[in-house]
C-alpha cells in the first residue's frame, strides 16, 4: 500500500517517461498512460481512461502551439475534420459507459497492436502533384507549408469523404479508450486524403486536443477523472513531452522506436490476454 506522496512521485516519474517516449517515438502519451496505470498500478480502467484523456490534451495543446505558429498546421482542414472527430468522440464516450472494463481492455490491446504496426511503417510521403478534388476546393482545404530550406510549398488534397469517415472512427476510439488516435488521424490524412506527411502529423496533433476535450467533458462529469491521479499525470506527461521535443532535434530515434514498439506490442498482448481472462 502506497502513501499518497509515494504514489504521486512514482506516477510522476512514469508519466514523465510516458511523455518523453511518446513524443520521441510519435506514439503519443495516452497509449502509454493507460497500461502504466492499469497494469503498473492496478488502477481501474475508468480512472485510467480519464487520466489518459487529460494527458492527451496536455501534450497535444503543448506541442501544437509551435507548429501552428510556424504555419505547418492546416487550421481549416483540422477544423473541418473536427466535426467528424468530436461527433465520434461523443459516440465513443457514450458507448464506453455500457462496456465492461475487460471488453475495453481487449479493444485497447487491438488498437495498440495496430498503432505499433503503423508507427514502424515507413514515413509517409509529401504527396507531390496531387490533383485536388472539387469538394476539397469548395471547402478551401488546400494550403501551404514551409519546407526545410525556407521555401513555401502549396498543396491540394482529395478523397474528402473517406478521410472524414476514418476521422469519425478515430474520434470513436478516442472517446472509448481515452487515447488521441493520432495514428489513425494521420492515416486518414496521409493515405486517404494525400495530405503532405508533415502537415498530416501536425494537423492531427492540433485536432487531438479538441477531440479529447469533447469526450473528457463527459468523463469529468461522470467522475472518471480523479484529481489525485490527474496531478502527476498532467505535470509528468507535459514535462516529458516538452523534453522529448527538445531531444528529438538531435537524436536518432530509430533504434529507440523499434525497441519501444516491441515493448508496447508485448503490453498489448498482455492487455488482450488479461481482458479475455476477465482480470480487469
Amino acid at each position: 500500500m502506497y502513501t499518497v506522496l509515494m504514489f504521486t512521485l512514482i506516477v510522476l516519474i512514469g508519466a514523465f517517461l510516458a511523455g518523453l517516449l511518446g513524443s520521441l517515438t510519435g506514439l503519443g502519451g495516452g497509449v502509454i498512460v493507460i497500461p502504466l496505470l492499469t497494469l503498473g498500478f492496478g488502477v481501474d480502467f475508468h480512472y485510467a481512461i480519464g487520466a489518459a484523456l487529460v494527458a492527451c490534451i496536455a501534450t497535444s495543446s503543448g506541442s501544437a502551439s509551435a507548429y501552428v505558429r510556424e504555419g505547418i498546421t492546416n487550421i481549416r482542414l483540422g477544423m473541418f475534420l473536427e466535426i467528424a472527430t468530436t461527433i465520434g468522440a461523443v459516440c465513443g464516450a457514450a458507448v464506453a459507459i455500457f462496456l465492461n472494463s475487460n471488453v475495453i481492455a481487449v479493444i485497447f490491446g487491438l488498437v495498440l497492436v495496430f498503432t505499433v504496426v503503423m508507427t514502424l511503417r515507413k514515413r509517409g510521403s509529401d504527396h507531390e502533384d496531387v490533383v485536388g478534388s472539387p469538394l476539397a476546393k469548395k471547402l478551401k482545404l488546400y494550403g501551404t507549408y514551409p519546407m526545410k530550406d525556407g521555401t513555401i510549398k502549396s498543396y491540394t488534397l482529395t478523397n474528402v469523404v473517406p478521410g472524414f469517415s476514418v476521422m469519425w472512427l478515430a474520434g470513436v476510439l478516442s472517446g472509448l479508450l481515452g487515447i488521441g488516435s493520432g495514428v489513425l488521424k494521420v492515416l486518414a490524412m496521409d493515405s486517404a486524403m494525400k495530405v503532405p506527411f508533415k502537415v498530416s502529423t501536425t494537423t492531427s496533433n492540433f485536432m487531438i486536443g479538441v477531440t479529447a476535450s469533447a469526450s473528457a467533458v463527459v468523463y469529468l462529469q461522470r467522475g472518471y477523472i480523479d484529481p489525485g491521479i490527474a496531478l502527476p499525470i498532467i505535470v509528468g506527461v507535459l514535462a516529458g513531452s516538452l523534453s522529448g521535443a527538445k531531444l528529438l532535434k538531435r537524436l536518432d530515434v530509430k533504434p529507440l522506436k523499434i525497441i519501444f514498439c516491441c515493448a508496447i506490442f508485448l503490453v498489448a498482448i498482455n492487455m488482450i490476454y488479461n481482458g479475455m481472462l476477465g482480470k480487469f
Binding site: M79, A216, I225
Partner: protein, 131 residues
C-alpha cells in the same frame, strides 16, 4: 491583393491560437502544481485512495459549482481539479477563438463549420451530466 490580405489575417490567427494554447496549458499546469503541493502537504502521508475499484467522484469534483465551493473551502483536490478544468477548456476556447477569427474574415462557411464543432462539444457538456 485579396490573396495577400487573406494570408495576413490567417497568420495573425495562427500566432494568436499558438499563444493561447500554450498559455492555457501552462496556467492549467501551474494551478495543478499549486493545488498538488498543498495536497501533498496535507495528505501526503495518508494511504492512497482505492483506485483499483471505480467508485466515481462526488459532486465536489464533477460539477463547476462543486469545484468552486471546494476551492473557497481550500480543498486541495478541488484546486487540482480546477487545473484539469482549465486544461479541458483550453482546446474548447481555441475553437471559440477560431470562430471569432473566421467571422472577422467573413468566411461564413468556416463560421458554420466551427460553430458545428462548438455545438457538438456543448451538447456533450450538457448531456454528460451523471445519469
Amino acid at each position: 491583393m485579396d490573396k495577400i490580405k487573406k494570408t495576413f489575417v490567417d497568420s495573425d490567427i495562427q500566432v494568436f491560437i499558438g499563444k493561447q494554447l500554450r498559455m492555457g496549458v501552462m496556467i492549467a499546469c501551474a494551478i495543478a502544481i499549486v493545488g498538488g503541493i498543498y495536497y501533498l502537504c496535507r495528505h501526503g502521508l495518508e494511504a492512497t485512495p482505492k483506485y483499483s475499484r471505480f467508485l466515481g467522484e462526488p459532486d465536489l469534483y464533477t460539477t463547476i459549482t462543486g469545484i468552486f465551493s471546494g476551492i473557497i473551502a481550500l480543498k486541495a483536490r478541488c484546486i487540482i481539479q480546477f487545473g484539469v478544468v482549465v486544461l479541458l477548456a483550453t482546446p474548447i476556447f481555441r475553437v471559440f477563438f477560431s470562430l471569432i477569427a473566421f467571422m472577422k474574415e467573413k468566411d461564413w462557411m468556416y463560421v458554420f463549420i466551427t460553430a458545428l464543432v462548438l455545438g457538438v462539444i456543448i451538447f456533450s457538456m450538457t448531456t454528460g451530466v451523471k445519469l
